[in-house]
Assembly symmetry: C2
Homo-oligomer: 203 residues x 2
């Protein structure tokens, strides 16, 4: 399996951590957004909307979208289960994975896109929206902190794909100076320490 | 099953159409965003972040997030399959469902939130971001049109949850005057006619 990815982008990282947790071997091709490599005609032949990650299978089939890739890998390699073992657990993990993505990874991504100098001249920015999203991200981190006072991992008592998404979301706050204040958010800080110390976090 | 929902909001509609396609009976409780009913303490006891839809099971368990609800229902009622019959079809449907959500429903939702008078005094708006998202939505509709020249439905040759998401995205463009130009986007217009004529579209 071949993963087209950017080492600094959060969605490819979700897939790298996922594959590493499952001990599924994969090769990578770097498509650096900083070099506009995702906008070349060659890469657009893999993904017309120029987004990462893209998975290429040995037979040449292409699969896009981080969670479509992870779900497909889960079906081929079910041994280390990361999406849930029964219908209710799968529903819980899906709920929390979507919360982590839509309520934190997305807002933090919008802060970066709309306020960071990296994007000047690359996309049209709306700094006011970035600041609105910064407030949303702060509120949501406080909510995740309260939730994590009730259980060890985001979706229950064991590690799942929802933890991968939340980890990638929080780390993607770094360039926007969105960090966990451990004094104010002790449960989120405890969880972060737990998940970030897994070897897969370096994938 | 009890669905907390707003009849005008796109994510509850995704679930209503899904349940209707599967002939799964459900009751609804209207939580009208226009009346701020989603922000009451009572509703926040169902969902602390005040979002719709929420599903309440007969035993009192709560499930949030449109796609977590739909996936759970698919497992309980697999007969009319809407998420895919094998690993590769499930991956394709997930990919296209996410494309429909992240590349069209989300941008169109941001146009509405950031430019519509409905939200004045309710949320902080960033009209410039709304206009950026209007351009994104227009570009993405052209892309969906090209894709729909290759096959009958969004994710393949049969109806799936990805079509539900795309239908709800496009219809949610109405209050922002984002519509399908049938002359410019004949494939998307053909697909819309096909999917919008299903009885479930009125759910």
């Amino acid at each position: 399996m071949l993963l087209y990815q950017d080492p600094r982008a959060p969605n490819p990282r979700r897939v790298r951590i996922f594959l590493t947790e499952k001990s599924v071997p994969f090769e990578t091709i770097e498509i650096l957004i900083a070099n506009r490599a995702h906008q070349t005609e060659e890469f657009r032949s893999k993904n017309p909307i120029a987004l990462l990650p893209v998975l290429e299978l040995p037979d040449g089939r292409i699969l896009r979208e981080s969670m479509a890739i992870c779900r497909y890998v889960e079906e081929l390699h079910p041994a280390v289960n990361l999406f849930g073992n029964d219908a209710w657990e799968r529903a819980q993990i899906e709920q929390w994975n979507r919360h982590a993505e839509l309520e934190l990874l997305y807002p933090i991504g919008q802060v970066f896109r709309n306020t960071n100098p990296f994007w000047v001249g690359r996309i049209e920015q709306a700094p006011a929206f970035g600041e609105i999203m910064r407030n949303v991200a702060t509120e949501r981190m406080a909510w995740f902190d309260r939730e994590l006072s009730k259980r060890e991992y985001l979706a229950g008592d064991r590690f799942s794909v929802a933890d991968i998404t939340l980890l990638c979301a929080i780390d993607f706050g770094k360039p926007s100076n969105i960090r966990i204040d451990a004094a104010a958010l002790p449960n989120l800080a405890r969880w972060y320490q737990l998940v970030n110390s897994r070897p897969s976090a370096k994938a």
